[in-house]
């Protein structure tokens, strides 16, 4: 699987080049500081692009990476659920978003029982919410549910 290695190297190269591009476009200000805010990022960008190029031309020998199989789709779906969870926390509030996330993720990973599937998320989302907001005094958002309650 040299191909996966090369794709990885290409991503490194693109990251370095893109970062370098952005660094070069940055306006330069110096206040008695010979380097200014630009030079360090430019060095990093060049270094990263060179590393990417080097890995592209001469990949590291070693054990080939695990092939992508259909199970990798589970990682992807889980990542999408996390995105939805992250977006939902401020919108529908921490307790509801956490409840829905735990419910969905545990079903994805193979929980069959609906009783456990509903009770555990309910207890955890309310428990953590209570611990943070009441005991530790760290506020967590309630979203529009909070507005409804007012």
């Amino acid at each position: 699987m040299k191909r996966a290695e090369r794709i990885g190297a290409a991503v490194v190269l693109l990251l370095g080049a893109g970062y370098l591009w952005d660094a070069l476009l940055m306006e330069d200000v110096t206040i008695g500081d010979p380097l200014g805010p630009k030079v360090f990022p430019v060095i990093l960008g060049v270094l990263m692009a060179m590393l990417g190029l080097s890995l592209l031309i001469r990949p590291v020998d070693g054990s080939p990476p695990r092939p992508l199989t259909s199970s990798a789709a589970y990682a992807l779906v889980l990542a999408l659920m996390l995105c939805a969870y992250g977006l939902g926390i401020e919108w529908i509030g921490y307790p509801v978003a956490t409840f829905l996330f735990l419910l969905a993720a545990s079903r994805l990973l193979g929980e069959k029982s609906w009783v456990a599937g509903l009770v555990i998320p309910l207890a955890l989302s309310l428990g953590v919410f209570g611990l943070f907001t009441r005991v530790l005094d760290i506020p967590l958002p309630l979203g529009w549910i909070g507005k409804l309650m007012e």
Binding site: L44, P65, L78, A79, I89, L102
Partner: protein
């Protein structure tokens, strides 16, 4: 020497006063809780709890806060070992081998050695603090920006060269971390860099967000995939307690970690994170079986846990002997002292002996308390691993997210953590090491500022580095370290062929 013992006796007398004992206990307990929860690190936890110290005697206030600091360091290792969720940057190193031990059914010994290592290191650290404090403070004063820059280059190259099989891939990871550190507004000039016009990114990328995304989220994404493919196996807990053999194997690592950690702790610049990374790489270098590191080697847990605890003692030296806070945690202590009416200065030892020696005395006692508090908890923590993965994974993600959210109360951080989780997932697949990213991020700003300050002093000339013997030594060491692994690995594989 007798004078020091007298002072220590005086300090213990203060620390053993019932009210101060109670404060030390509360501090350790709250600190452990803060350490176990991801997100709020020691500095944040102490800052949250400063109101508790209002109106208390200065000695009592600082004993309480130091207890929180110590407790948080202890607690931080727990989640990194059990769940691969590092509570703070220094625990990232602990998770490398600690989590692998847990998956092999050895969570108990891993947690125990972390507690025992921290205890031994804390005790050694306090002893060194008393004896070496004043002379070391003078050495630390010689560390200008040029020497600090050289020290950080040394730290980064050491970790880069030993983190994975390929030095180039290690360098990619380090550079990626340094790049993440440049996001946000540039401190001296106020120029906004790499924020893609997202206002929230102006403050930069938080270390906890990256640590949790890159380690915890990516780990669970990979594990969920393995579980579906029927490859995710957690071995049954074989024994909860540490065997004598485990202890004997680790004691060398603990002692080396304690001394190394202390020395690095005195120096400026994210000391306890650097200390835990360097002691880990030192053990890997010294080991006859470096390939076992990352697979659940007990010394890989003992060394960084010891180093970060004694570094915590070392970091107190600039504060106590010169009145300079050199880290986030000591800055909080500095503020708390000011509030109780004690002004940290080079004369703190003379003017407020009760505060200094009371603190040192309470650190001894705090160490004992933490050991007594934490060892019985090991059996309880290990039970967490019996949770079936279909529940454990979502719960770990939810707990990590609440930790990430509590740092800045920003949903953007959650998306960032998820994105970094996906990046980490692919880095794991392609054998890019993850730990150097964290060290790069932690040191990035310090490194850049040190370089810019150095060149500001010299007016742009690089000669300044060659005029500092400390900097030259560190650069040479860095070069040796980068060149060495190939030579070392080669000679080792030859040996294996011959035998």
């Amino acid at each position: 020497m007798i004078e020091i013992l007298n002072h220590l006796g005086y300090g213990l007398q203060i620390a053993l006063a019932p009210i101060n004992l109670l404060y030390a206990f509360i501090g350790c307990l709250v600190g452990t809780l803060i350490g176990v929860l991801p997100g709020i690190g020691p500095a944040g936890g102490m800052a949250l709890l400063i109101p508790l110290t209002y109106g208390k005697e200065p000695a009592s206030a600082i004993i309480l806060l130091a207890g929180i600091y110590y407790g948080a360091m202890y607690g931080g290792s727990t989640t990194s070992i059990l769940l691969n969720v590092p509570g703070e940057a220094a625990s990232v190193v602990t998770s490398l081998d600690g989590y692998q031990m847990a998956r092999k059914g050895r969570a108990g010994p891993a947690l125990s050695i972390a507690a025992i290592g921290s205890f031994i290191a804390g005790t050694i650290g306090v002893a060194l603090l008393m004896v070496l404090g004043p002379p070391l403070a003078k050495v630390a004063l010689q560390f200008g920006p040029a020497e600090t820059f050289a020290l950080m280059v040394f730290g980064l190259s050491t970790v880069t060269s030993l983190a994975g099989k390929s030095v180039r891939k290690g360098l990619v990871a380090t550079t990626f971390g340094l790049m993440l550190a440049t996001v946000g507004s540039d401190l001296p000039t106020g120029i906004i860099r790499f924020t893609f016009d997202i206002p929230k990114l102006m403050e930069g990328v938080d270390i906890i967000v990256v640590a949790i995304g890159l380690f915890a989220v990516s780990e669970i994404l990979s594990s969920a995939e393995e579980m579906r493919a029927g490859e995710f196996l957690v071995e049954k807990v074989s024994r909860i307690w540490l065997s004598l053999q485990d202890f004997l194997e680790s004691i060398g690592a603990i002692l080396r970690g304690s001394f190394l950690g202390f020395l690095i702790g005195v120096l400026p610049g994210a000391a306890h994170v650097t200390a835990s990374f360097l002691s880990y790489t030192l053990e890997k270098r010294l080991s006859k079986h470096p390939e076992r590191f990352g697979q659940g080697e007990i010394r890989g847990v003992a060394a960084p846990e010891s180093a970060n605890n004694s570094a915590a003692c070392g970091a107190l030296i600039p504060l106590l002997t010169m009145g300079l806070p050199a880290s986030a945690v000591t800055a909080v202590l500095y503020g708390a002292l000011l509030m109780t009416g004690v002004r940290p200065s080079p004369f703190l030892f003379q003017k407020h002996p009760d505060v200094v020696w009371g603190l040192i005395g309470s650190m001894y006692i705090g160490n004992v308390m933490l050991l007594v508090l934490n060892l019985p908890l090991v059996a309880l923590w290990v039970k967490i691993l019996r949770t079936p993965p279909r529940w454990l994974f979502p719960i770990v993600l939810a707990v990590s997210f609440v930790g990430v959210y509590s740092v800045n109360a920003a949903a953007l951080d959650l998306l960032l953590a998820t994105l970094l989780g996906v990046v980490g997932y692919f880095m794991r697949r392609l054998d890019y090491p993850l730990a150097p990213v964290i060290l790069g991020l932690v040191l990035g700003n310090l490194l850049e500022q040190a370089l810019r300050q150095t060149l500001m002093i010299s007016g742009g000339s690089l000669d300044i580095f060659w005029r500092s013997p400390i900097a030259i030594t560190l650069f040479v060491l860095a070069a040796v370290v980068v060149a060495m692994p190939k030579v070392l690995y080669r000679s080792q594989s030859k040996l294996e062929v011959e035998t």
